[in-house]
C-alpha cells in the first residue's frame, strides 16, 4: 500500500523519467536543485499535469495509467496540496479559507487552534504574515482529509525561525495523523528533518551521486561532527 509511481514526461529542457514508491504513512522528500523537475512531478501526482507515460497508483487506486487510459481528475484524487507561494482565496477570511472544502466544521476550528490562527480567523489573507498564510494553507489541505498530502516547498518564502516552527508543527501533525506526505524541497536539512525517505532529483532523473556530493560538501563546510548525519537515501527506483 502507499504510493507507487512511474512517470515519464518530456518538458522543455529535459525529460522526466522517475520511478519511486512511498509506503503509507511515510514522508518522501523530493530534493534537488531549482529546475530539476520536482514541481512538475508533484503536479503530475496531483493531476494538474499529465505524464506522457507511466503509472501513478495510490492504495491500489490508479490515479494515472497510460496503458489502461486512466487519468483521474484532481477533484477525485482526494489530495491535499500546499503550493510554493500563497494560494489562499483572497476574497475569503482565514477561517473561510481553512473551511473551504472541509468535511467537518468542528475539526476546522481545532486545526485553526492547533496552528495558532484563532485570533486571525476573521482577517483576509493579505492582512496576515506569510507564515500565517502557509499555516492556513496547511489547515485548508488537512481539513479535506486527504489520502495523500503534497507540499511544494511550502516554507521556502519564510524566514528561518518561522520555517523552523512550521516544520516542527507539520512534522508533529503528520505523525499524529499518519498521513502519507510528498514534500518537495531544495534544502538538504529540511529534507532530512521531514523525510523518512529522500529522493534526489536532478534534470528529471533520480541522482544519488548528486545527493552524496551535496552531503559531502556540507560536511566539509560544517566540520566532521556532522558527517555521520547522512540522509536516508531512497533506493526505490
Amino acid at each position: 500500500m502507499g504510493l507507487k509511481c512511474t512517470i515519464k514526461k518530456q518538458i522543455k529542457a529535459f525529460s522526466i523519467d522517475v520511478a519511486f514508491d512511498c509506503p503509507a504513512g511515510k514522508t518522501l522528500a523530493l530534493i534537488g536543485p531549482s529546475g530539476a523537475g520536482k514541481t512538475t512531478i508533484i503536479r503530475m501526482l496531483a493531476g494538474l499535469e499529465r505524464p506522457d507515460d507511466g503509472q501513478i497508483v495510490y492504495d491500489g487506486m490508479a490515479f494515472y495509467d497510460r496503458s489502461r487510459r486512466v487519468n483521474i481528475s484532481p477533484q477525485k484524487r482526494q489530495l491535499g496540496y500546499v503550493f510554493q507561494d500563497y494560494t489562499l482565496f483572497p476574497h475569503l477570511t482565514i477561517s473561510e479559507n481553512a473551511a473551504f472544502s472541509a468535511k467537518d466544521r468542528n475539526e476546522v476550528d481545532d486545526l485553526i487552534d492547533y496552528f495558532g490562527l484563532t485570533e486571525l480567523r476573521n482577517r483576509k489573507p493579505h492582512q496576515v504574515s506569510g507564515g500565517e498564510r502557509q499555516r492556513c494553507a496547511i489547515c485548508q489541505a488537512l481539513a479535506t482529509h486527504p489520502r495523500l498530502l503534497l507540499l511544494d516547498e511550502p516554507f521556502s518564502a519564510l524566514d528561518v525561525e518561522t520555517k523552523r516552527v512550521l516544520r516542527a508543527e507539520l512534522k508533529k501533525i503528520k505523525e499524529e495523523r499518519a498521513i502519507t506526505v510528498i514534500y518537495v524541497t531544495h534544502d538538504i536539512h529540511e529534507a532530512h528533518y521531514i523525510g523518512d525517505i529522500i529522493l534526489p532529483i536532478v534534470n528529471g532523473r533520480v541522482d544519488r551521486a548528486w545527493l552524496e556530493r551535496i552531503v559531502a560538501q556540507q560536511a566539509a563546510v560544517n566540520g566532521q561532527a556532522k558527517v555521520a548525519r547522512v540522509p536516508k537515501l531512497a533506493l526505490a527506483y
Partner: protein, 216 residues
Amino acid sequence: MEFMPLYLSAKLATIATIVLIMISAPLAYFLVFLKWPGKSFVEALISLPIALPPTVIGFYLLYIMGPRGCGGAVWEKIFGGSLLFTFTGIVIATVIYSLPFAMQPIKAAFEKLDVRLRENAYVLGLSPVATFFRVIVPNSINGITAGAILVFLHSMGAFGVILMVGGSVTGETRVASIAIYEAVETMDYKTAWMLSLAFLPISYFFLLVVNKLTRN
C-alpha cells in the same frame, strides 16, 4: 421635457446589461481557460461589432431578425409576432452589438487571475462550475462591474443599430438617442439640449466608477 425616451434608454440599458453579463462571464471563461478548436474564430466573430460600423451591424440584424431572416422566422414561429420595431428586438440587437464591450474587461479580469487559485480549487475537490462561481467570479468582481458599467453606458447611447432594427416607435423603440436626433432634425433644440444634458452627469459618474475599479 419628454421622459419616455430616457426611461426607455435606461430600461434597455439595464436589461441588456443583465443579459450581457450573464452571457459574457461564461463565454469569457470558455475563451480564457479552455482550449478548443476554432476558439480564435469565435473570438474574432464576437469582436466584429468593434470593427464594423453600427449601421452595417444594424443592416445585418435587420435582415436576420426580419421575417425572411433565420432569427426572425424562428421567432415568429414560436411567439407569433415580428421582432423588428419592438422593444425585445432592440434588446437583442443591443446585446449582440455590445457583446465585445462586455467581454473585454471580463476577459482581462479572468486573464489576470493567478492560475494556482483555480488549481487549488480543483485539488480541493471543486468542479469547474463550482470553481467559476466560488473562486473566479468573486475574484474578478471589479472587472465584471467595470464591464457592466461600460456596457450600460454603451447601450444607453446606442443609436445606429437601434434605428435600423427598431426605428422610432414612441413608447417602444424611441430611445433617448433617437429622440435627440429627431429633435435636432425638427429644430426642437430645447428638447435636444434637455435630453443631452441628462446623459452627461450619468456618463461622467459611471466613468469615474470604472476608472476607480480599473485602478483597483
